[in-house]
């Protein structure tokens, strides 16, 4: 596959890393034990201080270094196994959603069933990780577990889990203080307990991995020859996946999510010349351990100068995203998009006009409910038009904004799905939502008085920057859909660690960030709401202009070219369009709504398949989804409000995962 140097071995990269580690450790040790510098360990001079620093060394510094090595090794091993079994060079505990699934399991258990944790957090983590891996695999099953499909499904599951934990944090903010630090992957230790817990598990896992290494290596050839050697391929795969989930869960339950070591370690040792599986199984854990230790030692050295804490796991996550970006152009993705077009080609037999009528009626009902039906301290109320002034003041802007955002996201989603021929594509997946969110978080963090115009400016600016990155990185490959999506995934992957760092510091401004991130129409005033809807309607009117492109693109690059479409230019224009739509919608309802993923699907399930009706239908479904979500969010926990984006994500996400089995 990919290799930089012909005759290199991973030792070439592990050795320098080892030397860096040694230097940094020496530095850290010298800081811990200042007596070292003056020659001998002279406890008599200052017995108090000497004893304390010796204990800090023994029970904090050394175990921390040990756990960094072990966790890095564990994730490296898990990554190698996942990549081998799925024959997917970008599979890893984080990209497949295993780590975040394990984490969500532990969060839920801590809040609602602390009793479960008495049996050991790792079993809860294991269940969480296994469930989310199962969902990822079943979502990508019909695409033959193609690498991009699997990783896309992983991202969607990650985003969904992100939405779920945002709800939990929103309503349990103070209780979450501690959990957030753990969740961000802090390696701080104060005893040898964690090391002694992880070490035997890692040894057992390594031994099992060693035993199945040979048959597993044969999977590289192809399944039939592996089977002809008398291997039960299915059992082998199941066992290796189970093993990798177990190692991941053990590590996550101790130190939280440590991003991207599981991806980076196997990929880099492979690049450095570890060609056989046995070599990779050997070198990836070594490299993973050293990588994490180096990162942690750097942080240990410099974090004392920062007023805020930067957890190591979040840091590796930040470092990992550029790696993924660098890796994407170097991946061979043949075969991944072979059947990309088939989903859009069934012709519609259903009378489309009746479906439009149905949607219009539903839209009307939901709008009326959203405007006139409400809970109050005294119970449910149906307001009549006499209260119109108050309704127009408080509810109308939100309904308008919800509808507008829903339409914009649905159009963006339908466009990107048709353009890439991938049913998992959505504005969220392209990373534009995440890019906008990153910009807003940074703005809120660095300014004392946050105003709405400032947020709009920052959000639009970061959307433009994200778009520029997307275009820059994909220009040479002609905006090929699979690569485009992977670039988006890498950008989206930047967002999680940033959010974790913010959360881990427990900054009081967090309420504001979370409230916005969860996608509420709360901050919308009447002009904004009206503006959003008008803009959305204008976009709907413009659909016919791009309908022909979107009918032709799913037929494949060659057919489209043959029919006289200048594919690259068209893709660039559409990409810009999607970015604008997404940025606007994200500013209104936050980065996590899933409307852009769901609405086009629902529209397709309803039988809208040609571009024009599909986009129009998607827009209606999007509006319906968001208006309903906004209304439900205002009523369910009255007087507390669940943000519309979250309600849409929770409702729609579940439906989506159910519905997607068919694709």
């Amino acid at each position: 596959m990919i290799s930089i140097l012909r005759r290199s071995t991973p030792a070439y990269i592990c050795l320098p890393l080892l030397i860096i580690c040694a230097l940094l450790s020496f530095n850290v040790l010298r800081q811990t034990l200042p007596e070292l510098g003056s020659g001998a360990l002279d406890f008599s001079a200052a017995p108090e201080a000497g004893v304390m620093s010796a204990i800090v060394l023994q029970f904090s510094v050394l175990p921390r270094m040990a756990i960094a090595l072990l966790v890095g090794a564990a994730l490296g091993l898990a990554g190698v196994l996942m990549q081998q079994v799925l024959r997917n060079p970008i599979a890893s505990p984080t990209t497949l959603g295993v780590a975040s699934g394990a984490q969500l399991g532990l969060l839920l258990a801590t809040l609602f069933a602390p009793g479960l944790l008495a049996f050991g957090g790792e079993w809860v983590a294991l269940a969480g990780g296994a469930i989310s891996l199962l969902i990822v695999l079943s979502l990508s099953w019909h695409r033959g577990l193609a690498p991009v499909a699997v990783v896309l499904a992983g991202l969607v599951v990650n985003l969904y889990i992100g939405a779920l934990s945002t709800v939990l944090i929103l309503f349990h903010q103070e209780e979450f203080r501690g959990l957030m630090i753990w969740a961000a992957g802090s390696l701080a230790q104060n005893s040898w307990d964690d090391t002694l817990h992880l070490l035997p598990r890692l040894i057992i896992a390594a031994v099992i991995a060693g035993l199945i290494a040979r048959p597993l290596g044969l999977l590289e050839l192809d399944e039939s020859s592996a089977r002809s050697l008398g291997i039960s391929v299915r059992k082998l795969r199941l066992m290796s996946l189970g093993l990798s989930v177990f190692i991941t869960a053990s590590a996550v339950s101790l130190v939280g999510v440590v991003g991207f070591v599981g991806l980076a370690a196997p990929v880099i040792v492979r690049l450095m010349g570890a060609r056989t599986l046995t070599q990779r199984l050997l070198w990836a854990p070594v490299f993973g351990g050293l990588l994490l230790l180096t990162t942690d030692l750097f942080l240990l050295q410099y974090s004392a100068r920062l007023p805020s804490m930067v957890p190591t796991g979040a840091m590796t996550g930040l470092l990992g995203a550029p790696l993924l970006l660098w890796l994407i152009p170097r991946l061979s993705l043949k075969g991944a998009s072979a059947n990309a077009g088939n989903m859009t080609l069934q012709s519609a037999r259903v009378p489309v006009s009746r479906k439009f009528l149905l949607l219009s009626v539903l839209l009307l009902i939901s709008t009326v409910a959203a405007l006139f039906v409400t809970q109050s301290p005294g119970g449910w109320l149906f307001n009549d038009t006499a209260q119109w002034a108050s309704i127009a003041n408080w509810r109308l802007p939100r309904v308008l904004a919800a509808a507008g955002a829903g339409i914009l996201l649905a159009l963006a989603g339908a466009t990107i799905q048709r353009m890439t021929g991938n049913p998992m594509a959505s504005p969220e997946v392209l990373g534009i939502s995440s890019g906008t969110a990153i910009g807003l978080i940074v703005t809120i963090y660095f300014s004392t008085h946050v105003t709405v115009p400032m947020l709009i400016l920052a959000g639009s600016l970061s959307a433009v920057i994200t778009l520029a990155v997307l275009i820059l990185l994909n220009r040479r490959t002609g905006f090929q859909s699979e690569r485009l999506l992977l670039t988006g995934i890498a950008i989206a992957a930047l967002f999680d660690p940033l959010r974790s760092i913010f959360l881990a510091n427990g900054d009081p401004r967090i309420q504001q960030v979370i409230a916005w991130m969860s996608g509420s129409t709360y901050y919308v005033d009447f002009p904004t709401g009206l503006g959003a809807l008008l803009f959305a309607v204008m976009m709907v009117v413009l659909i016919p202009l791009v309908a022909r492109w979107l009918d032709l693109l799913p037929l494949g690059r060659n057919v489209a070219l043959g029919l006289g479409l200048s594919v690259n230019k068209v893709r660039l224009v559409l990409l810009g369009l999607v970015a604008i739509l997404t940025a606007f919608a994200t500013l209104i309802v936050g980065p996590l709504s899933f409307a852009g993923l769901l609405a086009p699907h629902v529209a397709r399930m309803l039988g809208f398949s040609r571009a024009l009706p599909h986009l129009a239908g998607s827009a209606m479904v999007g509006a319906l989804l968001m208006i309903t979500a906004d209304w439900l969010g205002r009523q369910v926990l009255f007087p507390q409000e669940i943000p519309a984006g979250l309600v849409a994500a929770l409702l729609g996400g579940a439906y989506f995962m159910w519905g997607l089995r068919k694709y």
């Binding site: 108090e48 004893v51 304390m52 204990i55 800090v56 023994q58 029970f59 904090s60 602390p114 929103l170 903010q173 103070e174 203080r177 501690g178 959990l179 630090i181 753990w182 802090s186 701080a188 230790q189 104060n190 005893s191 004392a304 100068r305 920062l306 007023p307 805020s308 804490m309 409400t374 109050s376 301290p377 108050s390 003041n393 408080w394 509810r395 004392t448 008085h449 946050v450 105003t451 709405v452 881990a504 510091n505 427990g506 900054d507 009081p508 401004r509 309420q511 504001q512 979370i514 409230a515 509420s520 709360y522 901050y523 005033d525 009255f638 007087p639 507390q640 409000e641 943000p643």
Partner: protein, 289 residues
């Protein structure tokens, strides 16, 4: 005049005042606390259940309406309460434009790192007093609290060793409170020394591992201690090796809202005084044995 600082007394005392108090909603807990200290019961407050857990004293009477999350209080509900005034802190300034359609919104800045912390609290109290027609009560409350702190300062031994105030986050991390925090301000007003001299964020704390708590003086652990951290006290070698632990100088204090106003400050001072004197009492008691 006998000055009582208990919350109940403070709430009930201005009942005899002549004009009816304005109908106030307070979004920020610090402002809720300040209102209650002036004897003004807010009509509405945000996240009341969490307020009772994290601020606790002074407690909110039953009739106060919960208007939802602090970052997104329910506007329709607020509009139906015929409010005269809404008090917020800059942290939630994003709600100002819409809430000012319901009633006049006043933004009060308590956390301003450029100014003296005590003075900030005094000014917040004074401002709330002005806004609610309770100026004389505000001055009285300020004087009471100042006098109480002065009184405690006179009683607490000046040679009390430095204090390091922490709150446990989990079994590996604590928040250490330094410059810019309520606790630090109280410590210095009592004429004592804060042992935490490291960097702090805008709110006066920083998150560190327990190995950094190497003070020779007192280690003050403010409740609540999360369940996950309880194991640390019994069998963690690192914890047991901390100088304060070895010399039995760990003091546990009941929960005091770390972002509080004057009442929280004085409550912290009182609890601190109590804990330190109890401790030196037993120590000297041991000495005479």
């Amino acid at each position: 005049m006998l000055v009582s600082l208990s919350a109940g007394a403070a709430v009930s005392s201005p009942a005899q005042s002549q004009n009816a108090p304005p109908r106030v909603a307070a979004i920020d807990w610090t402002l809720v606390e300040t209102l209650l200290s002036l004897g003004v019961v807010p009509v509405a407050a945000a996240q009341i259940k969490d307020y009772q857990t994290w601020v606790g004293e002074p407690s909110l009477p039953e009739q106060v309406v919960d208007i939802g999350l602090r970052a997104q209080p329910n506007r329709e509900l607020a509009a139906s309460l015929q409010l005269d005034l809404i008090l917020i802190s800059p942290l939630f300034s994003a709600i100002e434009p819409t809430f000012s359609q319901i009633a006049p919104v006043q933004t009060l800045t308590t956390y301003n790192p450029d100014k003296d912390f005590w003075q900030n609290l005094v000014e917040t109290t004074r401002r709330v007093g002005e806004l609610t027609d309770r100026s004389s009560e505000a001055e009285a409350v300020i004087d009471q609290h100042r006098a109480r702190i002065e009184q405690l300062k006179g009683k607490i031994p000046a040679d009390t060793p430095p204090l390091l105030v922490v709150q446990f986050i989990d079994d590996r991390h604590v928040r250490a409170y330094g410059k810019g925090s309520l606790y630090d301000m109280v410590i210095s007003r009592l004429g004592l020394q804060n042992a935490w001299q490291g960097e702090t964020n805008m709110w006066g704390y920083t998150t560190v591992g327990i190995e950094e708590l190497t003070t020779d003086g007192y280690l003050i652990v403010v409740d609540p201690v999360p369940m996950s951290a309880e194991g640390v006290f019994d069998n963690n070698r690192l914890w047991r090796a901390l100088p304060a632990v070895r010399h039995d100088r760990v003091l546990s204090l009941p929960a005091v809202w770390s972002f509080g106003a004057l009442p929280s400050a004085v409550r912290f001072a009182g609890e601190l005084y109590q804990a330190v004197t109890d401790h030196t009492g037993t120590e000297s008691g041991l000495g005479t044995l």
